[in-house]
């Protein structure tokens, strides 16, 4: 055990160098900086915006339109004058929106004709926050339209509810999961479910990619720096070397992934996590009633799945890197592993595997890295057979790879590929 710990510490020292960490720290700083900047700008853009409104109609109806534009998100400044005067006023006041209500508004609305409100947006740049402001203002016009329509209906059908006339049909949404039927909106629930688990594939991808690269670099460097031969002649069990390298690489990968994830979470949080419709207490309750919320036991299962997947990745990367000659070729040698991780990752995002074709299903279930991506849904829908079958398969896969890697380390195969090439070159030279 002490020997393995010795190797782990050495691996960590070799891999966690300033040259290795600097790019990740730089990425983190950039992400945090960008995230902060975006948060600041979004905070600014969510402040109430000011709109100059020129009411050329000056009727009760135009006044109600003006009132509809006033909200906790919008401050209205009444004004008069022609367009040039309004633009000058807007520039002086630092206002970017002007709305002009035409003279004949009340008359035309009462005649059931449409009215064009002129909306002027003074633009000095293009950005997402600019678009958000535009969307907010437009929603106020929708509100104004709603009010006017309801006023018409109330006038035409006194005693009747204008809302009932506009929307005679309503839906009561129910979600059915297995044998449970609960009132709720499937879109909202879907968003809530995804929000519980959206980080899992990203975390798994990061840890798998970095840990594979780390162990490939470790083995490649041993060969390149000519330290491997010495290590193989010391009195240590070869399996200990393999396990020490794997654990060392995993620890370094966790550190690097952790740095990256902190930066990613900060950055993505800058954009907000919006679902298709806002979720309320009722939706959260529906989630629990349907058994679709992940409790502590579920997260334990997911953690076991992640751990086994990382073990599979490390053991396979070790096996592949053994056949490389140096650090560069070792990192290239783990490219097949990257493909095996990316395939299930993207398939799970875009497809429902249960409904996929048989060849695709076989492919997914054959790749050990598929199971952590499939597990969140399997746990939620009570498909524990898949969860535990996945555990068993990944454990067997990792054990087979570790055993094979240890066997290769125990033989001269780990050296002979290079030796054979060097020997042939000498023979040709002497030839």
């Amino acid at each position: 055990m002490r020997v393995v710990i010795n190797i782990i510490l050495k691996e960590a020292k070799e891999l966690l160098t300033p040259q290795m960490l600097a790019p990740f720290v730089a990425i983190m700083v950039v992400f945090v900086f960008i995230g902060r900047a975006i948060r600041g700008e979004r905070a600014k853009s969510s402040r109430p915006q000011t709109v100059i409104v020129a009411d050329n109609d000056r009727t009760a109806l135009s006044q109600s339109v003006l009132e509809a534009l006033q909200s906790d998100q919008t401050t209205v400044i009444p004004a008069e004058g022609n367009l040039d005067e309004l633009l000058a006023l807007a520039r002086t006041a630092g206002v970017t929106w002007i709305v002009v209500i035409p003279e004949s508004l009340e008359h035309r609305i009462q005649a059931f004709e449409t009215v064009d409100l002129q909306v002027y947006n003074i633009v000095s740049g293009f950005s997402i926050t600019q678009m958000e402001k535009s969307v907010r203002l437009k929603s106020l016009f929708d509100k104004a339209n709603e009010r006017l329509a309801q006023a018409h209906l109330a006038q035409a059908y006194p005693g009747a509810s204008p809302e009932n006339i506009q929307n005679p049909l309503r839906t009561s949404d129910f979600v059915v999961v297995r044998d449970k039927v609960v009132r709720g909106n499937a879109d909202v629930l879907s968003g809530l479910v995804m929000s519980q688990t959206f980080m899992i594939p990203i975390v798994l991808l990061m840890v798998l990619i970095y840990s594979s690269q780390m162990i490939a670099a470790s083995i490649g460097q041993e060969k390149e720096n000519k330290t491997l031969e010495t290590l193989l002649t010391v009195p240590i069990n070869r399996t200990s070397i393999v396990i020490g390298k794997m654990v060392g690489a995993a620890l370094v990968a966790l550190v690097v992934s952790g740095i990256f994830m902190v930066a990613m979470v900060y950055w993505t949080g800058s954009f907000g996590g919006e679902t298709s419709a806002p979720a309320g207490a009722a939706d959260t309750s529906a989630l629990s009633q349907l058994g679709l919320s992940l409790g502590p036991q579920s997260y334990v299962l997911l953690a076991v799945g992640l751990f086994l997947a990382v073990l599979c990745g490390l053991s396979l990367a070790t096996l592949l890197a053994i056949f490389a000659d140096d650090a560069k070729s070792a990192q290239v040698s783990v490219t097949p592993l990257m493909m095996l991780v990316m395939i299930p990752y993207f398939l799970c995002i875009f497809l429902n595997i249960d409904a996929a074709s048989l060849p695709l299903k076989i492919l997914m279930y054959a790749i050990p890295f598929s199971y952590p991506f499939l597990m969140p849904k399997a746990i939620m829908f009570g498909n524990y057979g898949l969860v535990f079958a996945g555990f068993g398969y990944m454990a067997l896969f990792a054990a087979a790879c570790i055993f094979t890697a240890a066997r290769l380390f125990s033989t001269d195969r780990v050296l002979t590929a290079k030796l054979r090439w060097v020997r042939r070159r000498r023979v040709r030279a002497e030839g």
Binding site: R2, V3, N6, K10, K13, E14, T17, N225, K226, T227, E229, T230, L232, T233, V234, P235, I236, N237, T411, D412, L415, T416, L419, R420, R423, R424, R426, V427, E430
Partner: protein, 241 residues
């Protein structure tokens, strides 16, 4: 008598290439035995087999009576191997490197510290022992590696081209260290294509060419036998036969 190392009809093939064609020799305990030959003659392959890095294609090799192919773990406890182009871990300091390697030979902290002290003394790097290996010159790195190979007082030290690429003063220092350890009882198997160096260090030598041993004996005996002034002339004479 139990030999420190006994090689019998050793053959090693690399695919279709025969690197060793059935060599045999014995090394007595406490002896310095040199393997001399030109580049590509099979010296390094022989040393790698004795040090348990490679397995023989056929034949038998034993170290202090233990077969290297059957019980390599036990053999590794008795020997240390210094490859020709060995490196040390560049991110570690010289001291950390010695500590790292010492841990494989003892679980006792005091023994480990004593081993590391010995290694520091052998390396003769002064305060530079605390600097990272990547800041070392070739000579400094080689002295560190030799110190690593000798600090645990192995029963058999296998040194492949120990002074390869070093200047005169560093080479002399290393040769003196090897002689000193041999006098203290360590058996040494070394290889070199520098025949004058091997003549200086070795009690007995084997001349190897194209995977076969062409002559064995003490340097003085061989020179007298063949009427030569040095081993280089002996080698040229014997290979021409």
């Amino acid at each position: 008598m139990e030999f420190a190392c006994s090689v019998r009809d050793l053959v090693r093939n690399f695919g279709g290439l025969r690197a060793l064609g059935g060599i045999s020799f014995d090394i007595k305990p406490g002896e310095v035995f040199g393997l001399i030959g030109p580049n590509g003659s099979g010296k390094t392959t022989t040393l790698r087999i004795v040090s348990t890095l490679l397995r023989p294609s056929s034949g038998k090799v034993s170290v202090f009576g233990i077969d290297v192919a059957e019980r390599p773990g036990e053999v590794r406890r008795m020997l240390s191997y210094l490859p020709e182009d060995a490196g040390a871990y560049k991110s570690l300091s010289g001291l950390d490197y010695l500590r790292f390697m010492a841990t494989f030979y003892t679980t006792d902290n005091r023994d480990r510290d004593a081993m590391v002290e010995q290694g520091m003394e052998l390396a003769e790097l002064g305060q530079r022992i605390r600097n990272r290996v990547k800041t070392y010159s070739k000579g400094m790195a080689r002295k560190l590696l030799l110190a690593r190979a000798l600090m645990m007082k192995p029963r058999l030290a296998i040194l492949d081209e120990p002074t390869s690429g070093l200047d005169v003063s560093n080479s002399m220092g290393i040769r003196n260290r090897v002689r000193e350890y041999a006098r203290q009882g360590t058996t040494v198997l070394l290889s070199s294509h520098n025949m004058l160096e091997v003549e200086f260090l070795s009690d007995r030598v084997a001349l190897i060419k194209q995977g076969e041993i062409i002559e064995t004996g003490a340097p003085e005996e061989l020179k007298q036998k063949h009427g030569c002034r040095n081993l280089e002339e002996v080698f040229l004479k014997v290979e021409a036969r």
